[in-house]
Amino acid sequence: MQTGLILAALRKHRLATLLIALEIALACAVLCNACFLIAHRMGLTRVDSGVDESALAVFKIDGFEAAQAGDLNARMLAGLRAVPGMQSASVVNTAPFGLPTGNAGINLDREGKRFGGVVGLYLDGPGSFEALGLRLVAGRAPQTGDFQPMVGFAPKDSQVVVSHTLAEHLWPGQDPLGKEFWSGDYHFRVIGVVAHMARPGAGEGGTGTIEWSVFVPTQPGPNLVGTYLLRAAPQDLPRVLRDAKAAIARAVPDVVIDHENSRTLGDLRERYFRSDRVMASLLVGVVAALLGVTALGIVGLASFWVQQRRRQIGIRRAIGATRGDILRYFQTENFLIVTFGIALGMLLAFALNAMLMRFYELPHLPLAYLPAGALALWGLGQVAVLGPALRAAAVPPVVATRSG
């Protein structure tokens, strides 16, 4: 019943109404997209690496000659396995969230005509497959005979395990077991598929390729030395890693422990996604500041209007409007303005999303964000206008009789 009245009044303040509506629209667009970005970033950090992260640690050393690899690997493994609580130690090239080594472009034919993408290779020694705790969904795990020596960057001819995601990418809808791929002269044949396996340096090439990884059973040697995968019970792991550092410093004093990269997988994961979390918290800050400023704008303008209309309010009160009527008048007015803003804001939100998608790897803004953003802004508007509206409701009818 008041709506017609309110609209008529707003028409008198077209400019101010438009400004508030525009501010709401911009806020709506930024709010929806910022929340979406936050959710997207946090989603990235929750990627399933497919391995028993809480039970694993990486141990990396430096300062040795590749020529001493055989002897060094043996001494290192012996030293590491002697640490109390160590369940297993194996030679690997890297681990999920570790240093990205061994990316390779692969082809689905020997001639290199059908490009399959750039995948991450785990060149890991005996015992590592079991230690990682990868969950096999088809085929078999690598056996002793599958571990081949490196020639250059990989074994010449490998029997490999791939992730389900990679199998679906390379051979959609087909049985991947027995399928082959090549990288230059190197040949790989699939013997097993695991449910999840994040690539080392996960996320390279975007979220879609985060699980494009291949487990290549490899015999430790001159090109596979210096990085070790440790497994211990989760509650023992920090102590086991600490003891391992001390034990190696004693047992193999001629190498330098790379402390920066010798960490539990939990730590590595934390470090890996740190920038994403920083960005997400920054976005949360932006959203908070945005809502705050928008609320301040509403408070400021509503207060101004209340003050400007004191006489009219007094008149309305004098001729019978209750305090509740006045309160609801300002609340409805705010609701209408915010609604205009939201309507425009939804269009802007999609435009902004389209722009972001052009420059960043982002999916479409899910529709669910729009009603959520609208609800938030309606709520914000009502909270912001409550103070000025209450002050308006408190205007006594006697004001009508005073001038100015």
Partner: protein, 430 residues
């Protein structure tokens, strides 16, 4: 007149403190966030070697054999050892250096092994990149050719190993080899580290510099991206089909740069005649700023933050427009009196803008404090560039210019409305 307007503005702002505070706060928040992100952008996209950035060129070419070459692929950043050595031998630029990053373990004075970052390069590196020497001098070109067992170390390592004393002539033990120290670098770091962006884009300079030829001879360990095609048992071998060496040339004049481009074309033509490949080789030069641009040194996140902050500033400005409008129109009566007493529309307009400007300056000052706080937060973030972000005089001035410009922009519309207040109506309604 301006003084009078300023006085009027201050009086008017004092009259409604809450509204004024809201406006200043809105501008300050917008300016604070924008200047924080713009300062980060400014530092990240700055010229790391002003004065020389147009004379230093990254040399790139694509020497993939035809069966590994895909039209539309990006030009590889690095060269094969074969091509790098051919270009070095020809020496067609004023100065040139092929290089690679690496790491080695040296033994400290206390007998502890220390892992240090290294750079394997040529004698020209130091004059090319304006690296000053504290003690001694860089090695000479003859040392490159002679694979001399020499090294230049950083000031920081000199401090660590020799307590800051002149260590020229001392020996650096690397495994069972030894290198003679010929020079100690002075204060030198390039940020972003444009000469090699593949091993951390920001950070201190390397600690040990060794001739590339010596490093290859001693098989010192290298790091950085290596791409091979075909069978490469040793990717560092002289004829290995692997691209891994960074190559920089200094060309003092545009004419020399043009001549060098021609030289590269001729080099590619020779390779084509030699049957290495038939594609066009994509040989080219990028100067420092082009190179930084091509490598996208400004992280995507920082760009996103900047856009967000500017969007936020826009919202703050809209907010200010609304509040200023409320403020000016509330004084319709006062404006009516002034108009009736003979003030021109222009005078009202200017008076309103002065008031907006005062709000802007106050917002700028407060925003500057917020930006300083924001930059402290940026420095505490775990990013490699954080430590290098600081506000310089230009950004300080830019803050006030931005604050003033945006507040004046926000004041335009309200001032326009205020100057069109009809004096008669305004006076009567009062």
């Amino acid at each position: 007149m301006f003084g009078y307007y300023l006085d009027l503005a201050l009086r008017s702002l004092k009259r409604n403190k809450v509204l004024t505070a809201l406006m200043v706060l809105a501008i300050a928040l917008g300016i604070g966030t924008s200047m924080t992100t713009l300062t980060v952008m400014h530092v990240l996209s700055g010229d790391p070697i002003p004065g020389k950035s147009a004379q230093l060129f990254r040399v790139r070419m694509n020497v993939y054999p035809d069966d590994s070459f895909r039209q539309g692929d990006k030009v590889p950043d690095n060269l094969t050892r074969r091509d790098a050595e051919a270009l070095l031998l020809a020496g067609q630029a004023d100065r040139q250096a092929a290089m690679s990053a690496g790491a080695m373990v040296v033994v400290s004075a206390k007998g502890e092994p220390l892992r240090v970052a290294t750079r394997y390069t040529g004698a020209d590196f130091f004059p090319m990149f304006d690296a000053p020497m504290r003690y001694g001098a860089a090695w000479r070109r003859e040392d490159d050719a002679g694979r001399a067992r020499v090294a230049v170390i950083s000031d920081a390592l000199n401090e660590q190993l020799f307590g800051g004393a002149d260590s020229v002539g001392q020996t650096l033990r690397v495994g069972d080899q030894s290198l003679r120290i010929v020079g100690v670098l002075g204060d030198w770091s390039m940020n972003p580290r444009f000469y090699d962006l593949s091993n951390g884009q920001f950070g201190d300079s390397e600690q040990v510099f060794v001739p590339l030829s010596t490093a290859l001879d001693l098989k010192l360990s290298t790091s950085g991206s290596t791409s091979c095609w075909g069978n490469a048992p040793d990717p560092r071998a002289a004829d290995a089909p692997c691209i891994w060496l960074q190559y920089w040339a200094e060309l003092g004049t545009p004419a020399k740069a043009a001549a060098y481009r021609q030289y590269l074309q001729n080099y590619i033509a020779l390779q084509q005649q030699g049957g290495r490949f038939t594609h066009d080789g994509q040989a080219g030069l990028l100067d420092v700023m082009q190179w930084l641009d091509a490598k996208g040194v400004v992280p995507a996140d920082v760009r996103l933050q900047t856009w967000l902050a500017l969007g936020f500033l826009g919202i703050c400005l809209l907010n200010t427009v609304g509040l200023l409008l409320a403020k000016f129109l509330r004084r319709s009566g006062e404006i009516g009196v002034r108009r009736a007493l003979g003030a021109s529309r222009r005078a009202i307009f200017v008076q309103c803008l002065v008031e907006a400007g005062v709000v802007g300056i106050a917002g700028g000052a407060f925003g500057l404090a917020l930006a300083a706080l924001g930059l402290v937060l940026v420095r505490h973030q775990p990013t490699d560039y954080g430590a290098y972000v600081h506000m310089d005089l230009r950004m300080l001035l830019a803050t006030f210019v931005l604050a003033l410009a945006s507040s004046l922009l926000a004041g335009l519309l309200p001032a326009w409305r205020a100057m069109h207040v009809a004096p008669a109506v305004a006076l009567k309604s009062n």
